[in-house]
Symmetry: C2
Amino acid sequence: MRKVAIIGIGMTCFGNLWEKDMVDLAVEAGIKACKDAGITNRDVQAIYGGSMSGGLFINQEHVGALIGDFAGFKNIPCTRVEAACASGGLALRQAYFDIASGMHDIVVAGGFEKMTDIGGGQAAKTLATASSQEWEAVQGATFPGLYAMIARLHMHKYGTTAEHMALCAVKNHKNAVHNKYAHFRKEISLADVMNSQLVSDPLKLLDCSPISDGAATIVLAFEEKAKELCKNPIWILGSGHAQDTLSLHDRSDITVLKATVEAARQAYSQAGVGPHDIDVAEVHDCFTIAEICAIEDLGFCKKGEGGRFTETGATAIGGKIPINTSGGLKAKGHPIGASGIAQAIEIVHQLRGTAEKRQVNADIGMTHNVGGTGATAIVHIFGK
Amino acid sequence: MRKVAIIGIGMTCFGNLWEKDMVDLAVEAGIKACKDAGITNRDVQAIYGGSMSGGLFINQEHVGALIGDFAGFKNIPCTRVEAACASGGLALRQAYFDIASGMHDIVVAGGFEKMTDIGGGQAAKTLATASSQEWEAVQGATFPGLYAMIARLHMHKYGTTAEHMALCAVKNHKNAVHNKYAHFRKEISLADVMNSQLVSDPLKLLDCSPISDGAATIVLAFEEKAKELCKNPIWILGSGHAQDTLSLHDRSDITVLKATVEAARQAYSQAGVGPHDIDVAEVHDCFTIAEICAIEDLGFCKKGEGGRFTETGATAIGGKIPINTSGGLKAKGHPIGASGIAQAIEIVHQLRGTAEKRQVNADIGMTHNVGGTGATAIVHIFGK
């Protein structure tokens, strides 16, 4: 496989962006990424776009071609990929294969979602299409409900507390204060989380990531081009993608996201590194319990220790393994298709040394993007 | 790039399959393809699935993971891709990149759509999400309406007649009689087409492909594995994927599908062949006018001559360049995501010599899969 690097990054603010449509957002992020890479759209040979549900959110499928059209990419392949909330990570991975195969030299991977054009109830129903329609959604299960079941069992088996989970939200909000693209740039206290409205016991409102609009784009290039165009290319060292059952009831232990374990194994193996080599990671914290499961399943701490590990400050900036320095999905926002790409953008900032007040000391970084309750997991490892 | 071959094929019947759901269909096609390849699901290292709109047709996104789950593929990457009616061709292309890059050795590419769970009006509205929601669908434009505009201009510029178009339907229905998987195994006459109900002038009911359920799967392998596992591997010689504006009003000439021209150029160039080298082709005949545009844009006849070329019998079995020997989308049926893969299956049959009463003399074959009114086109060239 040819070596592939990220040479450009760009994103919109995440949030309630009622004055912009999906195309506006995707084009804005794309222009920023091309500018950052020092290229124009004429240099781009293919684009990959991750989006969960143009059909249900904005009544528009065929969004790869749509974005290509409005971004001024003429006559090049524009491919939409979907794996629910892991759609962005999937776009990155397919762009990586495209270049690694030798088909193209410069490829754009983007993610985008316009979620606030429909009401909250309809959005929740749309998000539930990432779970099993026939076994979960049709019973009225929503994502907070499904993750609440994971949380409840984690508490029962491992002694994890509501406060442990809340501390993930407190940390991520603190990080997001220094991220100008974040949906919520506001610190919250442990009491704020604990006193926020119950959504699905034990998850409270501030345990949940928000519904956001947004887009994020990266430009990738093969080795020679990357070195020619870029002073500080960030290399993709490993890529993993695995799956598990769509429904929680089919799993032997719902506190373990087996897809995360397997995707991480693939990525570690390809990169030739282990959990102790990772200096910084963006993990999929759609709910606070998801961050706790992730840091365990990725090998940063033992299974069941995620809550206490968080409590020690190990995952804060300055800690043993800083997690979600961007603010994570929880505070940076979670425009579904964009999240996986925005994770990679944060790692690029950390490895380039451009993360400003969020900067940590890092040579190797990781992204971890999950679809549904873990039916899909995509893990990438990056190096300088 | 590593050489890649098709080593297994399988599909369901296409039609109104009310007793089966999408997962049933996809799994049935997948089992047949694995059996044909002489492998089990444990040999498969990744799957790609093309589907246009699980969200709007059956209220289910994340369908890559869903199919992987029910097909018994554990812990492997399951990727859904979407490019409207070209979703199947896109799944084939991404599977090709995956193997060509060196990431995996045996990969499955499938396509599936369950369209008849919703009513015809709702299905038409869902299909319209492949066009521009903001510039076309919102004005009430449907796909028959959009292709009718293409047909009207083609008639005006080139003297193409309603009879020329109808002859494509007559030919494709004749071919489908010998395809046991086809939605319509029934010959129709020129008079039948001409007297059928007007849908959008000049297109009549029998100028239009049907709404179908169905699934189709192929197994791909890299060179050494293909030779080891398969006596008659069919090689992918070229792959092209291009795009054009999503809306018709943005094009200088709506009778030319520029994405088809460009995707064909890429595929011809990679394969080192030209239109005269193609012995058999499956082209995207969602409407009869689409077949006429396709045979022109792919270079089988001059621009504007497609109608008269069809009238001479050149595109019939036994003609100069047999087109849609399977029955095409028109008569075999058009379960959106499945169509691009089913096209490849027909070409594999033709190159293996297993097309029975549809058999033509062929060393090199082509598939041509279109999304929307030509915002996406994907062309593949195959050889023995």
